[in-house]
Amino acid sequence: MPEFLQFAFSGLTVGAIYALVALGFTLIYNASGVINFAQGEFVMLGGMVTVFAHAAGLPLPLAALTALVTAVVIGLALYRFAIEPARGASAVSLIIITIGASILLRGATSIVFDKNFHSLPPYAGSAPWIVGGAALLPQSLIVLGGAAAIVVALWYFLTRTLTGKALLATAANRLAARLVGINTNAVVGLSFAVSAAIGALGGILMTPITFTSYDSGTLLALKGFAAAMLGGMGNPLGAVVGGLVVGLLEAFSAGYISSSYKDAVAFLVILGVLFLMPQGLFGRGGVERV
């Protein structure tokens, strides 16, 4: 039992991060139809910039803020200089553009910073609590609580503010959105900015637990993508549930089978969803896009 709980704790913790990555996929996909495989790089940037800004002498909160702003600026630049000029290109071309952007971001990070692994001190002590015989790190609670706060903030933004509703409207019907006076290009840009912010916050939350390096975004993007697919691409609730499920599956298979299978779980999830339920858990049948 303690073993089971231990795996569940670690599964939920990484799952919360996957959920944030999946939410990033979801937002951009809804607003623009683009599947942004550079989503993992925002998480990586959140971690790496915080580490180096902190090492350069900035207090941790300021270092985290710097990382957040950096990621948002890069997210906007990605939209403005790579996605917008390619408007009207096929879905495959757009995916390739985002993959290219992620390679570029990885390379630039390795040059600007370095190729080593980095971590940060836990934000609130490192002595674990023992719950049901399993160790629960305070940082795990910070990750879970932080991710939950981000989800609630996003929900509030999307359903309670006019700008958030404009984003939903653009996702629902782009023609009608333009006809009511929404600048849909700006909305898509906004979705990149918000997704970048969510990703960076995920990176800031997880770095004390997981180490970060210039190439840590690749696997995160893969896992977040698996989570988004599992939840049903385009569904925010599905993204959160999908993230937690992928995290749990990964932790249990690592614990009970072998940790060398850990990263294969995401692939299996993607294949399973593609073959068995292309709409995902919460998919809304046949979303048409023009």
């Binding site: 019907n173 023609l175 006809l179």
Partner: protein
């Protein structure tokens, strides 16, 4: 108020509007009639700025608006009720209307919202319901209400009676007449040619991307070509 001059529009290589000109004066109801595929919807979208035009001019209030993006044309006072309603299906009725007022000053929105609910009481009862769950007639009212939320001076209506029961068609057209009384200028696309000519001051007939006839509604209703092609007489 609106002057469309020699507008050319193409989808890829296929030209669908071959130099269309029409005018709508302030306070008028003008109908645009034509059979399927004539280019009516295309023209409405060009006027709203959704589709780019490859030639011609569009003048609104004596100002050329050709280069104005769609969202700024709404600010100028042009609203469109698009073909097939195009409500924001997953969003509530109330949110659909609030989004209609996206470009309004926040202070003006509640008053306009009350006015729209007064005009369409059926919508008021369904504020919290997802627009996709409304009946066709209610969706049409919602699409009109949403367009009115922007406080338009020119309202473009693309087949508002499509697929509706006769009672509802009458209700929608009565609303159009009432709106004109309230000072809104209307450009109306209708398959229901009888009804369109009955409420319009003037009309244009478009065939395969060209205006072929125009004049006062009464004159057109008596025109043998119109009677044969569109009124089935």
């Amino acid at each position: 108020m609106l002057k469309v001059e020699n507008v050319v529009c193409r989808y890829g290589r296929i030209e669908v509007l071959h130099g269309v000109s029409l005018e709508v004066g302030a306070g008028e109801i003008v109908s645009l009639i034509g059979s399927n595929g004539a280019g009516k919807t295309t023209l409405m979208r060009v006027i709203s700025g959704i589709l780019p035009m490859t030639g011609g001019r569009i003048v609104f209030d004596d100002e050329e608006i050709d280069r104005l993006p769609a969202h700024l044309r709404v600010v100028r006072g042009i609203a469109q009720v698009p073909e097939a309603r195009q409500v924001f299906a997953p969003l509530s009725v109330n949110d659909n209307l609030l989004l209609g007022g996206f470009r309004r000053r926040a202070a003006d929105v509640p008053r306009e919202l009350d006015r729209v609910y007064a005009l369409f009481p059926a919508l008021a009862e369904k504020r919290g319901i997802a627009a996709g769950n409304l009946s066709g007639g209610q969706q049409q009212m919602l699409a009109m209400g949403r367009a009115l939320m922007s406080g338009p001076r020119l309202l473009l209506l693309d087949e508002p009676s499509m697929g509706l029961a006769p009672v509802l068609v009458d209700q929608i057209l009565d609303t159009v007449v009432a709106l004109r009384k309230a000072g809104v200028t209307v450009l109306l696309v209708e398959q229901n040619v009888n009804a369109a000519l009955a409420i319009a001051d003037r009309a244009y007939v478009i065939e395969t991307g060209r205006i072929v006839l125009s004049g006062p509604s009464a004159t057109l209703a008596d025109d043998p070509r119109v009677r044969e092609a569109y009124l089935g007489l």
